[in-house]
Subunit: 248 residues, 5 copies
């Protein structure tokens, strides 16, 4: 209904969305970061599988930007659903200041309305290497068991920014989470997004065809260059890794 | 009545205004930004159609400035009405910090007192081109249908600052909104304001004559130069576009 | 009574003062700014007409300074009264951050205890000219009528800092306010203060003799030089004007 | 009792202390500033007269530092008492940000538990002169009468930082306060502290022997050099004076 | 249970943990700082004595980072227990801004659920010397008695950062605390961690073998180099000392 505000009272992060249809849900999140890997991946996922847009999120911790695509102006941070799958998708980079608070408030809103049984995160990691290896992490040993045959497990991997914030929040809420950090060395890297999506699709049985994403890579890369520059100018830290690091 | 404060308790944004006379209203907003397009347009609209000043808005997020015109000192952010039309008008640029919070609190105040059925936004966009093309966006497909024959729809347009903030807030509150971003390449550009107003007038049937605005362009441009410099010195980001950008 | 705190709960601005004796009051305010015009004027007014000190104001938005004159250490922001007249006086420049909040909270405190029927503001404006012209503004047409024969009305005048903040707050509270901005081109300018006070005295019938202020100008100017330097180092913006500016 | 927290709810400044034994108390405060005059003085006073440590104060507005002396680690801001005398003592410089809030919250805590009948402040003032003159200020005329034969009264003296903040807070709470600013031109100046203490001792009858402080001056000066450097690096402004300044 | 959030309402620091099994507990804390002495020590302690991970802590005052070790992604600040021993361990440096608030909120959470009878802190101190001397501090004379034969007591030692914040918080809550600052002059110094742990083990009877830590020093040092660089880039101040400093 017009003017009715379906959001909490919290002024820092406001969620205006329909209650997810499924009582148990899996949340998938990807954000602009190294290679824009996370945001390209979830944007493609949402379009390829025809997710339904169920809501919007606003916060003074985000840049005040509305990206209009073919004339349709949207909130920069949005929620989608399809069956048990929920997606949170961002058109804008999230600053360090928001990287703890935004995951915390989104999950607070969701967990009051649905049982989030799992969280899946996708992002990029700068390696300096050639390939598009997919490095996996999980917040539980069961999670590591589930993913370890489909991706590489590094001795140590430091996951920064809002992806790190979501993993920490998942730990606090005892929601099992897995994260897929795809090797990227480009500003805009749809091939890395496709590689990550393939791994997620195979583990979670999403039946997602990533061929079209790879096919359109050459054409969409220049189009996303501006967002990539925004990410570089923002204070979003790149997730880095060192295969030799082992802690403790 | 003297001293009685007709405002909410919120210290961040305080609205002191009469309740809009109409139960259903359309909100029109324009702010200083590229070419001062938005603020010149709504200022002209208010004067040409003899709107009534119904209230004032104060916020520590705005610069503490009162602009006195012919001796009349006013609050920098003001509300006007005429029939079903409401106008929010600013003499000062709104910083990034206020671009999310100020639209949110203004709409919170309004929506508790009137049903805002639509929001119309006007602003400038720097293109580097020659013309005064008007690019339209809308938060719904119906909105795009309504405007698409009167303006240009771009594949992608990034709307920044408080105009972007109003579009996001409109999405959160499910209030249909349209935005008209007029091509501008000058510090002060009343011709672009006139072009935008013409489009809005024809779509919404405002019967507004923009000829006088164009006629006085030469004389008012130097007068507005100082505000334009304030905008440049502020952190208000210019809305930019790239006709080649297509996202996702 | 000792230790009893006569102030509100608000931690941002705390007022500790006796309730004004008069049920209806006129508030006069002047602050350090260009030429120190406002603060010299109200300081002289308070001493020449033997106002009574009725209270003090503290805020973390103000510099933590106590100026002791002949050994008497005082709060930097103080309230005085004489009959229906209230004066708010500051020894310290007010930063941009406080320019909205401090007028708002002072008037909130006052309006709960007395009916403020009018606000009179005095300050300096840098013109680059020679004279000590007094430019007047008012928040109502009646106010402009009342002052226009005693001072100059400019087509456009931008009033910045806490003086602008007081004008905006007066608009929000529907309290008629007048402002007198005196031309000044010096760091310390008691002659401009005297010119402004003369205009205010004649309009409001204060029967104030400003001759002593002019007489002592030569002697007090060097003494106030340090405060003037503090003002320059602070972020208090100078109120500027351009006789050619006409808005809208 | 272990773990029991004897403090208020306020997160900005938390006081954990025993209730002062005396129903009426005099508060003496000195802080690191020019010449470390204030902190050396109250530290010496507390040791020479064998005050009892009654509590600690913590605040995010203070640097997170614990100074351990002979192995004893303490909170940086502490309360002591002896009979009717209370002392507040700081090992760390207080930033501008805390200079209003910390005196306000300390007095709020104290005034709810004892009647503070008087506040005595000691600090340093940089003059460029040779001597160790003691300049006195007071918040009441009675206070000036009481001190004027024991110290010098300047026409104007600007007291900055937390000492200025305590004077302002004393004005707001109507607690008579006196301040003793001792001429200092060194980084560490126990001789100035002794000069100030002598004046305070004679006015308030403390029977304090300052000879030992002077005697150990040569040995302790190098030891305090590091704290002096911290003060210089902090944003604590030096209290300055100009014998020629006379305000208004 | 999934989604259930076992944390307080406080948005600044949120603790999600099981209630400690023991009614009386001793808290051991170590953080990244000079030589990473504290974090290497408690990390080793937790692994060598097979502590149980009981909870996680999140705060916008911490960098949003999740460090995944062998694929296991964890919250950066965690709680462990073994019998009466509790450990708080951090993978990330804590900024000055968090150094007061984080100890305060962790102890607030703990003290509502268990009686913390003692706090033991370990960290590094840069001396410029050769050895790995262990300097001890305590918040009570009894504490100094207990530790003084096992470590060195300096005339003065300034303990900065979150270790200083924990000592101050221990003073406010009247919880006896001891601190062991180990001489270190390297970016990564497991030998200093081992030296500190040996002292703690002997005083508190932990029966901890630190030989393996020393044995693996050569191999783990390069691995921890990145965290050491993060510490250097953060605003965590090094704890410094001067054997000649004696205060007051």
């Amino acid at each position: 209904m017009i003017n009715a505000f379906h959001a909490g009272d919290d002024p820092l992060v406001r969620v205006s969305a329909e209650i997810p249809s499924s009582k148990e849900t899996i949340l998938i999140a990807g954000f602009p970061g190294s290679g824009l890997v996370g945001s390209i991946a979830v944007q493609y996922l949402v379009e390829a599988l025809s997710f339904t847009h169920i809501g919007n999120i606003a916060s003074p911790l985000l840049p005040a930007v509305s990206l209009a695509t073919a004339g349709l102006a949207q909130a920069p941070l949005r929620l989608y659903e399809k069956g048990r799958l929920l997606v949170v998708l961002s058109d804008v980079p999230v600053s360090d200041e928001g990287s703890c608070t935004i995951p915390s408030r989104i999950l607070e809103w969701l967990c009051a309305r649905t049982v989030v049984t799992e969280i899946i995160l996708i992002g990029g990691v700068v390696t300096g290497g050639d390939g598009e290896r997919v490095f996996g992490v999980a917040t539980t040993s069961e999670g590591i068991e589930k993913i370890k045959s489909s991706c590489q497990i590094l001795p140590a991997l430091n996951i920064t920014g809002i992806t790190g914030g979501f993993l920490t929040e998942a730990c606090l809420r005892n929601i099992p989470a897995t994260g897929f950090l795809v090797e990227t060395n480009f500003d805009v890297d749809p091939r890395a997004s496709a590689a990550g999506l393939s791994v997620i699709s195979s583990i979670y049985g999403l039946a997602l065809d990533t061929e079209p994403l790879i096919a359109q890579a050459d054409s969409i890369e220049p189009m996303l260059q501006k967002l990539a520059e925004d990410v570089k100018k923002s204070d979003v830290p790149p997730t880095a890794f060192d295969e030799d690091i082992m802690y403790g």
